[in-house]
């Protein structure tokens, strides 16, 4: 089977590492990755602790299919109590790091305590050490990656690291692996920085086997073919094809959600990335796959050398990770910028310094609105006019936030704390303190419900009501698809595969692969049940952490200010109608707490 049967417990306070057996009973109930990590978190920490304390636990978890030849098998998740939300944080990433961890012999890393001095964790098979990180503390993600490989004479090491943002407490710092893939959201990098853990470097030379090799090869080959035929255009256009769709639909949050359509969208969307300009420059160089992926939606782009951002900075003349939909949204419409090179550069900076681009962009958007209203001035913002549409403001502030300089320290608080600081909490476009992704809740009702009930705050990746939302713009009948897709996504996230396969594969396709891979019988029903169990355990973590039904809400702007244009013109989000129905479907009481029967049914009692 594809589990290595071993986890690594890292006690940073004591400076000790110790392998322990994987709890297979938990793996059987929670699948792996997100689900298994949630269970380990639940069993190893008090949800009430301060996220920025040694008592918080940080987990890196792989799934059962991670490291196998199933398509998109490179995923791993980082879990902790989030500093942005005070809720459970679970962020997953692709690239090659996750699979490498499996090959090194570990299914999961459980990191406790806080190191006295900055260290990095080095795993080379059975040789594990906590190494002094003095020389890389203060270095960027890219410098750290190169430094560790050079230091250990091993270019094959795969590295997950934080940048300066994580070291200096940006509330939404990311863990970046393989230079430009990231467990980006919810501040998992912030907690890593708080623990004085700079990086994890892994080289694995062991193998991963499966339960039924012959059947596994046959079924994964069929699934790869099916996926190749159903990539939804993501190979050619990447996820940024979504920008045109959202623009036409009127669900593209613009200028801090004051509008839902953005005139300059076609200068930064997927087609713009593919276009060769008059000087012969094309933003997109090539597409790029994460480990094992058939789709290869990743973008490798470059910036015009004569662009104002980098014309005197040759260190940025190289290719790197390019715009995806969410980054294009966060550096584009929501801050009103339509300069593709500035947006691409902002993306470079986020990867280089280890920052979540969505939270950064939406926080900057709120700052721009504060600036527009005259609540903050250039005196607050280091002399930079934070006007909507300013490519200079975007790129300067992206760098200041990454490096925690000047006004970047205010932006690093996140939108909620920043808006509270200036006395205008209503301008913060967040749920539970986490910033929205690029889908407006007035045009996409079910998305709004998913945001409001999201266990890690506003997030577009933990449910999938997209099709029903596009078909019907009322709040009617959205609770059921929201709940079902939340459970299903929890199962997918726990498998070790990528949710971008969901357009090609449903529950039977996932179950078939998992059944050939892992011990026991894996059916679509079992996957769905496990997904529901995971969702409810996340909820229990949040309730224990002190969150209540009052946190399942949306900003007033989305509940009271009608969409000014687009197909949802005049509409607001109908959360009030959807939420009670949702609680009922979940088997929760009117306070949003799982009832005893629900907990018993899911084996959580």
């Amino acid at each position: 089977m594809s589990w290595q049967g071993k986890i690594l417990r890292v006690d940073l306070t004591a400076g000790q590492v110790a392998p322990e057996p994987l709890n297979m009973a938990w793996a059987n109930e929670y699948i792996g990755e997100r689900g298994l990590g949630t269970k380990y978190l639940w069993e190893n920490m008090d949800p009430k602790v301060d996220p920025m304390s040694p008592e918080n636990v940080l987990i890196f978890a792989t799934g059962p299919l991670t490291g196998t030849s199933a398509s998109t098998s490179g995923r791993y998740a980082v879990l902790t109590k989030g500093p942005l939300t005070g809720a459970i944080a679970c962020s997953n990433s692709g690239g090659k790091f996750g699979a490498e961890l499996k090959y090194a012999g570990y299914d999961l890393l459980l990191i406790e305590g806080r190191s006295e001095k900055p260290v990095y964790l080095l795993i080379e098979g059975d040789e594990i050490s906590l190494v002094d990180a003095k020389k890389i503390w203060g270095k960027t993600v890219w410098e750290t990656d190169e430094w560790i490989k050079t230091q250990h004479h091993n270019p094959m090491l795969k590295i997950a690291t934080i940048g300066v943002a994580g070291e200096r407490g940006v509330r939404y710092a990311a863990v970046v692996n393989d230079l430009h893939r990231a467990a980006g959201r919810s501040g998992v990098g912030t907690v890593m920085g708080d623990k004085n853990l700079k990086a994890i470097a892994v080289r694995g030379t062991g193998g991963v086997g499966v339960k039924d090799p012959k059947r596994f090869m046959q079924v994964t080959r069929e699934m790869k073919n099916l996926l190749a035929q159903n990539t939804g255009g993501m190979t050619k256009y990447g996820t940024n094809a979504m920008m045109e769709t959202m623009q036409e639909f009127g669900g593209l949050p613009t200028r801090n959600f004051q509008e839902v359509q953005f005139a300059g969208y076609d200068k930064i969307d997927a087609k713009a990335m593919l276009k060769t300009d008059q000087a012969g420059h094309r933003n997109l160089l090539t597409n790029k796959a994460c480990f094992g992926c058939t789709i290869a939606c990743g973008r490798i782009a470059h910036i015009r050398k004569d662009h104002f951002t980098i014309q005197n900075r040759k260190e940025y003349w190289h290719a790197s990770g390019g715009l995806e939909y969410e980054t294009a949204f966060a550096f584009g419409p929501v801050v009103g910028v339509d300069d593709i090179d500035a947006c691409t550069f902002a993306g470079y900076l986020m990867n280089e310094h280890g920052v979540d681009p969505i939270s950064f962009g939406v926080t900057l958007a709120a700052a721009m609105e504060l600036f527009e209203l005259g609540i903050i001035t250039t005196e607050d913002t280091d002399g930079v006019a934070l006007n909507f549409g300013s490519a200079e403001a975007l790129t300067v502030m992206a760098e200041k936030t990454g490096k925690q300089e000047g006004f970047g320290q205010v932006l690093g608080l996140g939108s909620r704390l920043m808006c509270e600081k200036y006395g205008h909490p209503e301008l913060s476009m967040t749920v539970k303190g986490q910033e929205f992704a690029g889908y407006d809740s007035r045009a996409l009702q079910g998305m709004g419900l998913g945001y409001a009930t999201g266990n890690r705050g506003a997030c577009h990746l933990k449910h999938d009501t997209f099709e029903v939302d596009m078909d019907d713009q009322s709040g009617q009948g959205k609770a059921e698809p929201c709940k079902t897709s939340q459970d299903w996504t929890a199962a997918v996230d726990s498998s070790g595969l990528c949710m971008f396969t969901m357009g090609a594969w449903g529950a039977p396709e996932f179950a078939a692969q998992l059944d050939a891979d892992s011990e026991g019988e894996w059916t679509p029903q079992r996957l769905m049940e496990s997904g529901e169990r995971i969702w409810n355990l996340e909820r229990m973590f949040n309730l224990a952490a002190g969150l209540t039904r009052d946190d399942d809400t949306l900003p007033e702007r989305l509940l009271k200010d009608p969409a000014p244009s687009g197909t949802a013109k005049g509409k607001v989000n109908e959360l009030e109608k959807m939420l009670p129905e949702y609680y009922q479907l979940r088997g929760w009481n009117d306070q949003g707490e799982p009832t005893t029967e629900t907990l018993d049914r899911l084996g959580l009692g």
Binding site: G67, T68, S69, S71, K96, A99, Y103, M156, D178, L179, H180, G204, T205, G206, G207, V208, G209, V210, P213, M217, K224, A228, T276, L285, T286, N287, K288, A289, C290, F291, G292, C293, T294, A296, G298, I300, H318, A319, S320, G321
Partner: protein
């Protein structure tokens, strides 16, 4: 065929070719004829970096075929990335006609598969001395610390699993005489596309 061309195809030079009558026969024909008829005894992996997305399915297929598990570190084909993933380059043994590894082996453990032209390692004869890894200019024959022997690409008995696993056609199994033509064709296509856009 001129001497220079012979040098290109056979790094060992004309002397090596004379020892290899099949090679002479092969290349005495018009190149185009060999390609279109596919009658060459030499087949080889052809790797096209511009099509590679760096997904490593080839490494998994190779290690599964040879080790029965997924283990890229034991794959006989490896993919390398440059400039933040701008280029991904699959790399493996090209089955030299006059193979350095074979010549360097003191126990005669490396031999030619007469059907495919692949250079194979006899596990029973290999003593793990690593002379071949020193001799190979490409690094594509590697010492396996688990088995104590060397590993190299064996073309999977004529059905290379890396080729079957590659989702983009970046790795193909072609007549050895066609490797240039494949790249030329791709290049020609890009040239035309460039002119059209």
């Amino acid at each position: 065929m001129t001497c220079a061309e012979v040098q290109l195809y056979a790094p060992g030079g004309i002397r090596g070719l004379l020892l290899e009558p099949v090679f002479l026969l092969h290349y005495s024909l018009e190149f185009k004829t060999i390609y279109s008829e596919g009658k060459s005894m030499y087949r080889s992996l052809h790797m096209e970096p511009s099509l590679c997305t760096g997904c490593l399915q080839c490494e998994m297929a190779c290690s599964f075929e040879h080790e029965g598990e997924f283990n890229p570190s034991r794959s006989r084909i490896r993919v390398f990335e440059f400039e933040h993933g701008k280029t991904s380059v699959p790399y493996s043994c090209t089955q030299c006609v006059e193979a350095w590894c074979m010549k360097a082996c003191p126990t005669g453990a490396i031999f030619v598969d007469s059907n495919l032209g692949a250079k194979l390692v006899s596990a029973s004869a290999c003593v793990g001395c690593k002379a071949c890894t020193t001799a190979c200019p490409f690094g594509t024959i590697e010492f396996n610390p688990v088995s104590g022997k060397v590993d190299k690409c064996d073309l999977c008995g004529g059905d290379p699993q890396c080729v079957a696993a590659c989702p983009t056609g970046a790795i193909t199994y072609v007549d050895a005489g066609a490797t240039g033509v494949v790249r030329m064709q791709l290049s020609a296509e890009q040239t035309v596309q460039g002119r059209a856009s």
